[in-house]
Symmetry: C3
């Protein structure tokens, strides 16, 4: 057991509360710029992220194995990192390549744990588990990148709440009429509907279809008759550990199936990465299928969604987290309703995967 793992266990004295052998978003691609040494705590561990001279992103534990100084305080020597405190130098595989002390021999244990990364869909994805990183476990989110670059936006928010509360919030869209403003209101149409659920071991999907007049105000202006009735849908799919694809659309064409091919709408990815059990990195990306080239609209749109999360969803979730005093939502015997079917299925599916992973 290396020093790092031991530290974490010393601090927590429990096995990880998180699913480990899977991909989480570590950062937006744009977070890690040029020669910067970006750092962030992910799943309770301090992580250094930087780009090689050729642009490839690298992640390693942000902690020198000698005296535990944070490596992000150090400096770059080409693609290597030199620790600020005693100038031990590490390459992109975490191997010590230079020891300026004594006879200069490199201690066998002088290695920094590294973490496999993939850069895709505008995000840098990280694998922090002990098993070999499995690229096939990264779901296909190419919907985000299949389109004009002015039709897609990414944003990031820090939230002082357990990540599962954010998953709950998106998997239960019945809150939107109550928490959010007029602009995404279904005018009470959504709540009475029981979503159609599909599920398997690694997926929970929920779908709603309804009519409203006019359509959602983010969409109605792009329909033939903005003030007339439209058919609408939400289609959301959770995949472990905490990735949710959300499609929403509206159409006034009769009979066509409700999906983004036939509707004016957008495809979103909501994905969270635990910082700790009590705080979360919330990443969000969205691509629309209308006025795709309008860069100004694109910026306005991502800014408006960022603000809605920050001023409407997040304050509630942070207060709920504080009130609960635990991350075990189901253990508190909540009153559950039809709108909780999907989030509860997700919680149970995730718990099952974590339990399986931790079995000896």
């Amino acid at each position: 057991m290396n020093a790092e793992v031991k530290t974490i266990q010393f601090q927590k004295n429990i096995s990880s509360p998180f699913l480990m052998n899977c991909w989480y978003v570590a950062a937006m691609s744009t977070d890690v710029k040029g020669e910067d040494l970006f750092h962030r705590t992910l799943l309770n561990k301090p992580v250094l992220i930087y780009r090689k001279m050729d642009g490839t992103p690298i992640a390693m534990l942000d902690r020198c194995p000698h005296r535990f100084a944070p490596l992000h305080l150090g400096k770059r020597v080409g693609d290597d990192i030199s620790c600020l405190y005693h100038a031990l130098q590490f390459d992109c595989e975490g191997q010590c390549t230079h020891n300026p002390h004594g006879n200069g021999l490199i201690p066998k244990a002088a290695k920094v744990p590294t973490f496999p990364l993939m850069e895709k869909y505008g995000f840098i994805w990280i694998w922090m588990g002990d098993e070999a990183a499995d690229p096939s476990k990264l779901p296909d989110y190419s919907m985000l990148t299949n389109g004009h670059s002015n039709s897609v936006g990414h944003t990031y928010m820090h939230v002082k709440a357990n990540y599962q509360l954010l998953t709950d919030n998106v998997m239960d869209l019945s809150h939107i009429d109550h928490v959010h403003g007029e602009i995404i209101s279904t005018r009470g149409q959504l709540s009475p509907l029981i979503p159609k659920i599909q599920e398997n071991d690694r997926m929970v999907r929920a779908g709603w279809e309804w009519k409203q007049t006019p359509a959602l105000l983010i969409l109605n202006q792009f329909l033939p008759e903005p003030q007339a009735e439209a058919r609408q849908f939400f289609d959301i799919t959770w995949m472990p550990p905490s990735h949710i694809q959300l499609s929403v659309g509206a159409t006034q064409t009769p009979d066509v199936p409700l999906n983004l091919e036939n509707c004016v709408g957008q495809y979103d990815l909501h994905t969270t990465t635990p910082e700790t059990e009590d705080s979360t990195h919330y990443f969000f990306a969205t691509r629309r299928n209308h006025i795709e080239e309008d860069s100004e609209y694109n910026q306005m749109k991502i800014k408006a969604m960022h603000e809605a999360f920050e001023t409407e969803d997040i304050p509630i979730l942070e207060m709920v987290h504080t009130q609960m005093g635990t991350t075990d939502f189901l253990g508190l015997n909540p009153v559950l309703m039809s709108n909780d079917i999907a989030p509860v299925k997700v919680r149970k599916a995730l718990m099952k995967l974590i339990t399986q992973e931790q079995q000896p």
Copy 2:
């Protein structure tokens, strides 16, 4: 066991450290205005307090039983409260009256615990125990309200110390010559006196009588000969859990018994409600029996007393609380003196009541 009780126990993992089946002050009447949703933590529980359209105050747990959002973020629907997060609606008995989700059936468990209130003496009193609220257990503090409205004042202070330290402070008036300024100094007359004590299961009373020249400077100007010797008294009575009546007066009439009928003086109520074990809501009311109609004097007086607590008593008590590192004062083997007789009797009486209440 309902979700709320379970949460608290999950967080604290101990039985309540407080006496539960009794009345505490939840707020000053003036704290809960119009249609406001007032909220405050009392005895470790978040509590929502608001007034029905007819003015009657209502208290319930400030937590939706669905997803634990604070109800004070919600909105009023007549006398009901609608949760901000998913619009479950609750009436004044905590019963869910509207569920906009699915088929709209109201889950049997969709109830918010409520707490009986009484509004009396300028305060809203709350009963948070499991036993039926017993109005007869609210002592008679009608001295506060039997007089001209310009002769009475109420105030509130938040204190980062255990509530019992505040009880100690009032039950041991020997501190006033040392902590407070000239204006309420007995010039050393009080400390040497051993108070007369009366006690029974639900009361500890201590009385002092002495002479000083001149009388307490808050009173002497209302005596026939302000600079001459006066006879004075303090008469304080604790009742559980943490209510203390304090009468103080001075007279220059020989031989009359020392009480507020014969003396220039005032009647105070000091009462505290634990927020947590480490913080306290301190409520104070005072009524004087002289220049009762003088509204300006009244305001000046309550302001001066508020400031004396805030700048003189409270900083000491907060530092003592920090130094102690425990709420078990007697367990720290303090050096006790004659001035501790009354506060120690109160601590023991309260502990006995708490122990009795928790016996199975």
Copy 3:
């Protein structure tokens, strides 16, 4: 067991993590001025320090044994301290000398624990252990005071890290080329050297000798040929619990032994006193053997060293402390190198002394 000891044990529920029967620095002599009631937490205990009318410093627990009010809030009555809360008065031996309450008898237990002090070398030293204070256990730091008063300076820093990390930092001087600026750079000469070590039960000494061109920039201007090669040395000696003497010098005279008699250099004392396990009082004094009368240079020098610690060493050590999440550095299996020989010997020697002290 007196109340104070009980409090601490109640709070920590462990035996002291510190070596107790030894001298620590409590304050710089200049910290405790005139009639001030200086207070500071030392080894987890609140301590009051003040000077008698004759200037002799006095230390006692900063806590009244009656109701645990901090004594530093009180007032002086000659050489006695009168508690703010109830005016119990204590003399320099901690004995209660006045009780204004009841019959005025002084309770036998009304004593405040006092701590032996020595004032020497510009510091006030404190003995907080249960054994009798042993003046012979204070090492001889008269090097600090044997010289012109303009050649010596003292400074103080508060550090949010365990004190042993500060000891490590000084005992391992190999960091200076990496953490600090040009002015004390050895230009990589120091790191490859294995220090000569001497040790016994109560001392660890490490020495380095090397050549560099030019000499350290803090010294070279005082050598005959400032830009030419010089021979240099570091000589550092730790003594328990946390005192380190550090001599550094340079000479261009061939063959003479490298020490402060033959070299242009300075003698420093680095010494730390735990505030808690997670925070430290860092005291530093320095005396140079050149331009000893230059008061302006003296002030500049101590200011520059203070700033170097505060902006270069301390931020790293505080981050390391946070990363470690424990004070047990060796328990985290660090990668150790030749530059760790001296600090690891010190850690082991100190741990041995603490273990011996706590054996029944």
